[in-house]
């Protein structure tokens, strides 16, 4: 597995762990567990972590690993868009998730923009690798 794919998948697993802890606390709160007041408003953070940080990031990492390679180096395309995407998607999840919790809409917007740029960079790199066998 190439280094950037390992980074994406490990980051996705860390989001899975964090999102599961948060989700378990929210579910336990429905079962009577008392939580700090801030955590009762953590549902948007939980969903951001699980949908973008876990599921989308895992798919990006696996696609980077498994899509057909180019015949000439760099075989998986240029590295800078992928590294930038890795930074932006993780920063985006944190800011988009914390925005509603801290009641800061501009933070949510900046996170969404970072996520959008990250997936656009990834799609731009992956696009030429979606091809028929032997091409």
């Amino acid at each position: 597995m190439p280094g950037p794919a390992v980074f994406f998948v490990r980051a996705a697993l860390m989001h899975l762990a964090a999102g599961s802890v948060l989700g378990a606390l929210l579910l336990a709160a429905k079962g009577g567990l008392a939580l700090p007041a801030l955590l009762y408003r953590a549902w948007p953070l939980h969903s951001e972590i699980m949908l973008v940080g876990w599921a989308v990031q895992l798919a990006v990492g696996v696609a980077y690993w498994i899509l057909p390679k180019h015949s000439q180096p760099p075989v998986r395309g240029p590295l800078w868009p992928v590294v930038t995407a890795a930074v932006l998607i993780n920063a985006g999840v944190a800011t988009a998730g914390l925005g509603p919790l801290l009641d800061l809409p501009p933070l949510t917007l900046s996170g969404r923009v970072a996520e959008a740029v990250a997936v656009a960079l990834f799609a731009g790199t992956a696009w030429p690798r979606v091809k028929a066998f032997g091409r």
Binding site: M1, V6, R10, L27, G31, G32, A55
Partner: protein, 130 residues
């Protein structure tokens, strides 16, 4: 395909069908809107996450020559906890179970957490850069 992957994938498909049936039911009867959080978790945990767990265990790089897919006990624990947790949630989250409500949801929460952490413990050592 390993046995536990077949179990993951078949259970995932059952939850996929259940989720869409819940979606139709909520559309037909607006009084069933209280099922929304359950519907969402049946789809995202029961289908999507369960499918990912099964396929990742099957196809991720091997851990070693001796233990190709890492510690199998961890993935069976993950499978059992995920499905037990989700079933408890389906019963306990939308319906009033009286005094049993609290314990059912607490056990369900613990199961969800165990499922995720045991999957991570299985997969993490298999991710190596080459």
């Amino acid at each position: 395909m390993p046995r536990v992957t077949r179990y993951f994938l078949r259970c995932a498909m059952v939850f996929l069908v259940l989720a869409f049936a819940l979606g139709v039911a909520m559309r037909l009867d607006p009084d069933l809107r209280f099922l929304w959080p359950t519907y969402l978790h049946v789809l995202v945990v029961g289908w999507l996450t369960q499918l990912i767990f099964g396929v990742a265990f099957w196809l991720f790089p091997r851990a070693s020559r001796e233990r190709m897919r890492g510690h199998e006990g961890l993935i069976w624990l993950s499978f059992s906890a995920l499905n037990a947790g989700l079933l408890l949630r389906i019963v306990g989250e939308p319906f009033d179970l009286g005094a049993a409500d609290g314990p059912v949801l607490l056990v369900s929460a613990a199961c969800h957490l165990v499922a995720a952490l045991s999957f991570i413990a299985n997969v993490w050592p298999r991710l190596k850069a080459r």
